[in-house]
């Protein structure tokens, strides 16, 4: 089964697929930034719920989403585990040898886990329902620096080329009888293969640059965009921005900042 990030792009069956890309990008970016810094665990849970609702609205199969978020989730899990065991103030809930899990460390770990998971799910919902080239164009319209966009574009374009090259090399190793067995020879063969991929990527880099020069590249932007926003798009973006701000109200109230302002 094809589980590439763009494998559900062309389903085009959901309201999220059909939504204006600018609206989607701005709403998701605002939500992701907001979720990443939210202090209140209930609000983080609310954001997680929102992200799951986005997946349901986008009609993305749950297996696909799990497969897409699995690797970054493991990475975050490691961070959360480190945070959990880092101790802190408050009641000790559990001790493993010299490591204490306190109420504060448990809360911090849960918070980082929930908000990072919510952010990844939101990004997955965006990437799986919006063509990457359109996201790039939206970012261009949002005045993201052109050099950054070009790096982003090339990364996306050449991921597929390099993965094909890697597949070709793996197939050719298999065709010559190579079977991955835990041995020094296996590590050496894989290292050689990766080395070759690196050399090829350098060469390809040169050739791509050569071809850009052959097309008169001077460093100026080379993107044409044609995205139009309508009233309903502005309403949706405003609504998303409002939610992105509102999820910080409990924490701000608790810290006294909001009451201070009100007072």
């Amino acid at each position: 089964m094809d589980t590439g990030i763009d494998s559900y792009l062309y389903n085009n069956t959901s309201v999220i697929h059909r939504m204006n890309p600018m609206t989607k990008v701005v709403a998701v970016l605002a939500m992701v930034i907001s979720v990443a810094i939210v202090k209140d665990i209930n609000m983080a849970l609310f954001a997680l719920l929102l992200s799951i609702l986005m997946i349901i609205a986008a009609k993305l199969p749950i297996r696909f989403v799990i497969k897409r978020i699995w690797s970054p989730f493991l990475f975050i899990l490691l961070f959360a585990a480190a945070l959990l065991l880092s101790g802190g103030e408050g009641e000790i809930l559990w001790s493993i040898g010299f490591l204490d899990i306190t109420a504060e460390s448990a809360l911090n770990a849960a918070l980082i886990l929930i908000r990072a998971t919510a952010a990844i799910i939101m990004i997955t919902a965006l990437l799986a329902t919006t063509r990457f080239d359109i996201i790039v164009k939206v970012l261009y319209d949002l005045k993201m620096p052109v050099f950054l966009l070009q790096i982003l574009m090339f990364s996306y374009r050449y991921i597929f080329v390099f993965s094909d090259e890697l597949d070709n090399m793996r197939n050719s190793m298999a065709a010559k009888g190579f079977r991955p067995k835990l041995s020094m020879r296996m590590f050496s063969s894989i290292a050689n293969m990766l080395g070759m991929l690196l050399i090829k990527s350098f060469e390809r880099g040169d050739e791509v640059y050569r071809s850009m020069i052959a097309k008169g590249y001077t460093g100026k932007p080379t993107i044409i965009t044609e995205n139009k926003m309508y009233a309903k798009d502005y309403i949706f973006v405003s609504f998303a921005l409002l939610i992105a701000v509102m999820i910080h109200i409990p924490a701000l109230t608790q810290s006294g900042i909001l009451t201070g302002i009100a007072g």
Binding site: R131, F132, D133, V136, M153, F154, Y156, R157, Y158, F160, V161, R204, E207, V208, R210, S211, M212, I213, A214, K215, G216, Y217, T218, K220, P221, T222, I223, I224
Partner: protein
């Protein structure tokens, strides 16, 4: 037709070619290569004193063995490899031109399309060149539409390059070059690894561009398409070994062998036929030529073609097959 007769005809053609060349001398060449010598790092010779002129509207092929320096020569043509004083376009040194000027004069299509399609969609790739020329959005869009229509890829406009077949990718690259409307189009092995239909498509596009006045320079190993791809051929093997029409080149077995080349299958087959009595004025180079030749012969001889062996038929066939580098044992 015997060999001698054929050679006479070929000489006649060559004379015509020379007369044509003399006439061309009065026209300013669109591209001139003058005494170009280039060494790879570690002093390995890549090009040795290469000189030639290409005139407006010509359709020229550069053929030669692998590693003959074809791609290196092409890289000089748009100054990717700098070589001041050696490459001139319409009399101006290409090394002195700015990138925008240069791409208006020469468009180069390299062999690997994956290196040349780096934008997110087909449209963006075809628009890349015109945008670099500083054209307005409307004009860029118009050029993109024209180039895509010309190459038959209008339906791929919003597709991402990594989902395309090799044939489609090559056509997109071609569109992305012709959207810059260069005066000279340089194609490095445009038909390599393509299926027969895609080859034919590329051939048709190239011929149409040439008919519209674009000067074409092609490197190819595809000898069966050579006569359709080019009117003039340069045999390059570090230096220019020979210049002539495809027929001149195919008729020189020594030249072909020394440079890892061969004549087209049709040409070779009709050479064989001529040894068993098929008498034609000019050996056909392509399938279409062959069909015409056969039909003409049949019309002239009352609906028949007469083939027969004679005293020397067998020897001639052996000689020919030897020249074509077939194993002699297979004949016996």
């Amino acid at each position: 037709m015997g060999f001698e007769e054929m050679t006479e005809t070929e000489n006649g053609k060559s004379e015509n070619c020379e007369k044509q060349s003399e006439a061309m001398d009065e026209v300013t060449p669109v591209l001139s290569v003058k005494n170009l010598t280039y060494h790879y790092p570690k002093n390995k010779m890549a090009l040795d004193d290469v000189s030639f002129d290409i005139y407006p509207g010509e359709k020229v092929a550069v053929v030669g063995p692998n590693g003959a320096g074809k791609t290196t020569l092409f890289l000089h043509m748009n100054s990717t490899i700098k070589s001041k004083g050696h490459i001139f376009i319409n009399g101006k040194d290409v090394a002195d031109m700015n990138p925008t000027q240069r791409v208006k004069e020469v468009g180069i299509m390299f062999a690997d399309p994956d290196n040349q399609l780096f934008m997110p969609t087909v449209f963006d790739d075809v628009a890349f060149g015109p945008l670099n020329l500083g054209l307005s959005k409307e004009e860029v869009e118009q050029r993109v539409e024209e180039a895509m229509a010309m190459t038959g890829i209008s339906d791929l406009k919003t597709r991402v390059p990594h989902h395309l077949s090799l044939g489609q990718k090559k056509k997109v690259v071609l569109a992305s070059i012709i959207s810059m409307k260069p005066e000279v189009l340089v194609l490095d092995e445009p038909t390599a690894n393509l299926d027969p239909k895609s080859k034919r498509d590329v051939l048709e596009i190239v011929n149409k561009l040439n008919a519209d006045g674009m000067t074409i320079i092609i490197s190819t190993h595809d000898v069966n398409l050579l006569s359709e791809l080019a009117d003039k051929v340069f045999v390059l093997n570090k230096r220019i070994i020979e210049t002539g029409t495809p027929r001149d080149i195919f008729s020189n077995p020594g030249l072909l062998e020394e440079n890892n080349l061969e004549a087209s299958d049709i040409f070779k087959f009709f050479q064989l036929l001529s040894s068993i009595g098929f008498d034609c004025e000019e050996l056909p180079l392509s399938f279409d030529d062959a069909v015409n030749e056969i039909l003409t012969q049949m019309e002239e001889s009352g609906g028949h073609i007469h083939l027969h062996t004679h005293e020397h038929s067998h020897e001639e066939m052996i000689k020919l097959r030897k020249e074509f580098q077939y194993r002699i044992e297979r004949i016996d």
